[in-house]
Symmetry: C2
Subunit: 136 residues, 2 copies
């Protein structure tokens, strides 16, 4: 799928009080954040120190990595362990809850990889049938 982020009016918060499915957004807002996905996919490979994570997630700034990790910690998806060395070492790892969520995200990612050719072919066909549509 292409860049599909909200254009124009954002979905109103009230949608979530009225739809039974809206527990959805709680997870999907996070899942839609690419930095978060890249961080949890890296942590799925094993526990990581901050610097190692930053090198693994290409292009992430120190500030954005800090923010992403704190949100995941706050949600109970990532744990933070401080080792009393000098200087102190801090290690991040997925919690059991985080591991479950990452498993589901990976299923979507794997599905995406398996079907990227079908989706690309569909897009080419659609673009040929709708020249100048501007849909991406």
């Amino acid at each position: 799928m292409s860049v599909g982020h909200t254009e124009g009016t954002a979905p109103p918060a009230v949608v979530c009080e009225e739809h039974e499915d809206c527990g959805i957004r709680d997870v999907l807002d996070r899942v839609g954040d690419t930095w978060t996905v890249l961080v949890v996919v890296e942590l799925a490979r094993g526990e990581r120190r901050f610097g190692v994570l930053q090198r693994a997630v290409d292009g992430i700034s120190q500030r954005m990595l800090t923010l992403t990790l704190r949100r995941l910690e706050r949600d109970g998806l990532v744990s933070r362990t401080v080792f009393p060395t000098i200087p102190p070492q801090v290690e991040y790892a997925l919690t059991p809850l985080g591991r479950e969520m990452t498993h589901l995200i990976k299923a979507l990612a794997d599905w995406s990889l398996d079907h990227r050719d079908a989706i690309a072919a569909s897009r080419r066909g659609w673009d040929e049938a709708h020249p100048g549509s501007g849909i991406r």
Copy 2:
């Protein structure tokens, strides 16, 4: 999870050329779009006409619904059938590919509903331990 969308620098496009996992973003950009999720979840219940969809997805504008459906059509996830009535009726449905993807999205949504209490409790604990952190 809370509103977790990108703050500050957006992930550079180049990330996706360098990470084996980046087929991910293709799907997750779409999954992170709440309107898209609400539309596919509604279509998972059965085929729908435009007006019926618009009433079901509370708060979506005609323009946004049109755009969301066209993107899904372009990706090959939704089909559009025109019936030669007067006026013509147009019906939207998930394709087999769209049904597969929606199934995975629903798995994430269901997981989210099942664990919302655990996540909310984690957040309360974190916020008490980090007053004034501003993390959301």
